[in-house]
């Protein structure tokens, strides 16, 4: 039984589409609380994708991963970041380098790039999942753009976390998901990373009085 036959491929497309839209939204969002919710939804989409994988394989290991992803990426991250923005009253995100029209233009270009023949080698890993792999690639590119485009430390963190989600999606649709021990290791790394990133955001705020990373100009040649 093929992977996509269990859950309708179009449903997977919708779930991945939601994840993709959330990263586009984070790119243009001006409020930190909205960004956190968007990231939560994005992670939830990843949970559903992994859950679908469990339904296909019936491997207990994957179910454990689903639960861990839900706990770390959805529950813990929302709690962490909500606490952070309330502690420092960080209601608004810092501006981006590109304005909204330019952001949309670049996002459109990145989606076109992901669906172009340049990446046909990648999409041919599992031909049945071609469009899902292309969407995951677009997700990855837009996450990278989010990190580059953002002037705020918090948005950069969400960029890195979105990049991680996009790689999970890509790994699932290209059949590169790893064993339980490996995935637990990766999730543990991610959890520690998230904790450290949150501590650093507080440190940056204490020193700069804002999270605008463009104020970090003290290290020059």
């Amino acid at each position: 039984m093929s992977y996509t036959s269990i859950m309708n491929e179009s449903l997977l497309q919708i779930i991945l589409g939601i994840a993709l839209l959330t990263v586009v939204f984070i790119n243009i969002s001006k409020k930190n609380s909205e960004t956190i919710i968007a990231y939560g939804i994005q992670s939830l989409a990843i949970v559903f994708i992994l859950l679908n994988l469990y339904l296909e394989t019936k491997e207990v290991g994957i179910l454990i991963i689903v639960i861990l992803v839900l706990l770390i990426k959805v529950v813990a991250s929302i709690l962490f970041f909500n606490k952070l923005i309330h502690r420092h009253e960080l209601r608004f995100t810092i501006r981006t380098y590109c304005n909204v029209p330019l952001t949309f233009t670049i996002v459109a270009f990145l989606i076109l790039l992901a669906y172009s023949s340049k990446f046909i080698v990648l999409t041919s890993l599992i031909p049945a999942n071609q469009s899902l792999i292309s969407a995951s690639l677009a997700f990855l590119f837009i996450s990278l753009f989010l990190i580059v485009n953002s002037k705020g430390a918090l948005s950069q963190i969400f960029g890195v976390l979105s990049l991680d989600n996009s790689i999970v999606a890509l790994a699932v649709f290209t059949g590169l998901e790893q064993s339980l021990s490996v995935q637990v290791g990766i999730l543990f790394d991610l959890f520690v990373w998230m904790t450290i990133a949150v501590i650093f955001v507080s440190m940056i705020y204490r020193h700069l009085g804002s999270l605008d990373v463009t104020s970090m100009k003290n290290l020059t040649e």
Partner: protein, 480 residues
């Protein structure tokens, strides 16, 4: 057994910083642990030299290159541990740090060494990645150790840039696994399994994967143009940590590139990886060369020198054959010398309280032994004969002049500029008249011994290469 002892001791040493407030206990145990780790490291290296590999348990695998790196971790780990004690005590005396910071330092230092050890001994590329990412997480607070704005800025850049890069490296790693299929009973794909099944990999996928790996792990190596975090991080971290970052961590990340390069070469032939490595290597050499010449901060100077040397190592491995030999020798000598140099400048910083080259004058009068160590370190790192790096560079150039003559000539020019740049900075630092407000003499012997010993090891290795090390180097040349 040696691996488990090492892991256990480093873990306990890291834990001690959390559970006890007794500084002497933490320092003492860390040194004892490092001494035992170095013995275990050399035992493993002997094993690899005799048997070709070391795999006591499925999770661990050490090949010849891994064995060399393990010895480097052992030697530089011990040197930095010994050096850290008087260094931190001096900083405590000056009121720069308190006991809490000291405890944090030893916890993170031991965790950092442990993660590097686990990465290099791991049999699986994915676990290698996990532990390499863990080195980022354990060192980020060491870079922001002084909690100044510049240190936080450096640490943030380090965290974000390396995390993005390592995620891309992870994607590259996954793509390499795509061809291998599922392996072994525990489901963990090992380096050996990847090599054995390399022919199953699609050449197009291998090419894309290598690009991701090079960008990902190359960032951690400090290859240009992804090097931007490195000068900031290395200049803001405490000197012993800079020694470990420059002398060990960069090489550990480079091992990943070399292993994936070996797999790609089987699939696509060596031309593809050779060209990419040469491009990254050249960029690293040229960008750092010009910045070295105009540098104003001596720790950044050494950091850019690391970028330059990583570029040289890349080109060495790209050329293959004797070039690989040059690369391995360069890894060994660069590790020893750069760590020695970072420790020397750490001692200078303790006395002068400045990292600006312009503020450092008359080191030879103020700190005579450190001054001499610095001069020798500078001569070695710039490739002056008859020191080790001279021979590795000579080997590289002799291979390069046959295969890539124009590029090789440009590398010679860059090396000359680096020498002049270092000479310009070092002559002022070492020989000028000392500032009036800086006291002379009274060098702490324990701040002097580690860098001197590292220099001596590098010097002895030029004239005498132990047979087992010779075997390991030969094996690396054959396999990479």
């Amino acid at each position: 057994m040696e691996i488990l002892i090492t892991i256990f001791l480093l873990f306990i040493a890291a834990l001690l910083g959390v559970i006890t407030r007794r500084r002497n206990v933490i320092e003492g145990f860390t040194v004892i642990a490092s001494c035992i780790v170095i013995i275990c490291s050399f035992t493993i290296a002997f094993n690899v030299a005799n048997n070709g590999q070391y795999q006591p348990y499925p999770f661990f695998y050490v090949d010849s290159l891994g064995a060399i790196l393990i010895m480097i971790i052992g030697v530089i780990g011990l040197a930095t541990t010994i050096y850290s004690i008087p260094y931190l005590r001096k900083e405590t005396e000056k009121g720069i740090i308190g006991l809490t910071r000291v405890r944090q330092y030893y916890t993170l230092l031991n965790a950092f060494i442990l993660m590097m050890y686990l990465a290099i001994t791991s049999s699986s590329p994915i676990f290698f990645w996990i532990f390499l990412e863990a080195t980022t997480l354990s060192t980020v607070f060491l870079i922001s150790f002084y909690n100044k704005l510049t240190a936080v800025e450096a640490a943030w850049k380090y965290l974000i840039i390396n995390s993005i890069a390592l995620l891309l490296g992870f994607l590259g790693t996954l793509l390499f696994l795509s061809g291998a299929g599922q392996s072994e009973s525990n489901g963990i794909v090992t380096w050996q399994f990847l090599i054995e099944n390399a022919t199953k990999l699609d050449p197009g996928i291998a090419k894309i994967a290598l690009i991701f790996v090079l960008i990902g792990y190359g960032t951690k190596v400090g290859l240009a143009p992804m090097h931007t975090w490195l000068p900031d991080a290395h200049s803001k971290a405490p000197a012993p940590i800079s020694a470990l970052l420059s002398g060990v961590l960069l090489n550990i990340a480079f091992v990943a590139i070399l292993r994936f390069k070996a797999i790609t070469d089987i699939v696509t032939g060596s031309d593809y990886s050779q060209n990419i490595l040469i491009v990254f290597g050249l960029l690293s050499i040229f960008i750092s060369t010009f910045i070295i010449f105009s540098q104003k901060n001596y720790k950044r100077l050494l950091a850019y020198s690391s970028i330059e040397n990583m570029g040289i190592i890349s080109i060495g491995f790209a050329l293959g054959g004797l070039g690989t030999l040059a690369g391995v020798l360069h890894i060994i000598f660069h590790s020893l010398i750069k760590s020695s140099l970072f420790m020397s400048v750490g001692t200078i910083f303790l006395r002068y309280s400045s990292t600006k080259i312009v503020n450092i004058q008359g080191v030879l009068k103020v700190l005579p032994i450190t001054g001499i160590t610095l001069i020798f370190g500078f001569l070695v790192i710039t490739g002056t004969p008859p020191f080790g790096i001279f021979f590795s560079k000579l080997l590289l150039l002799s291979v390069g002049i046959e295969k890539i003559p124009i590029i090789t000539v440009s590398i010679v020019l860059a090396m000359a500029i680096v020498f002049v740049g270092f000479m310009k900075h070092m002559s002022g630092m070492v020989f000028d008249e000392k500032p009036r407000n800086v006291e002379t003499g009274n060098e702490n012997i324990w701040l002097v011994i580690p860098p001197v010993v590292l220099l001596c090891i590098a010097f002895i290795l030029v004239f005498y290469c132990p047979p087992y090390l010779y075997t390991l180097i030969n094996s690396v040349v054959l396999n990479y």
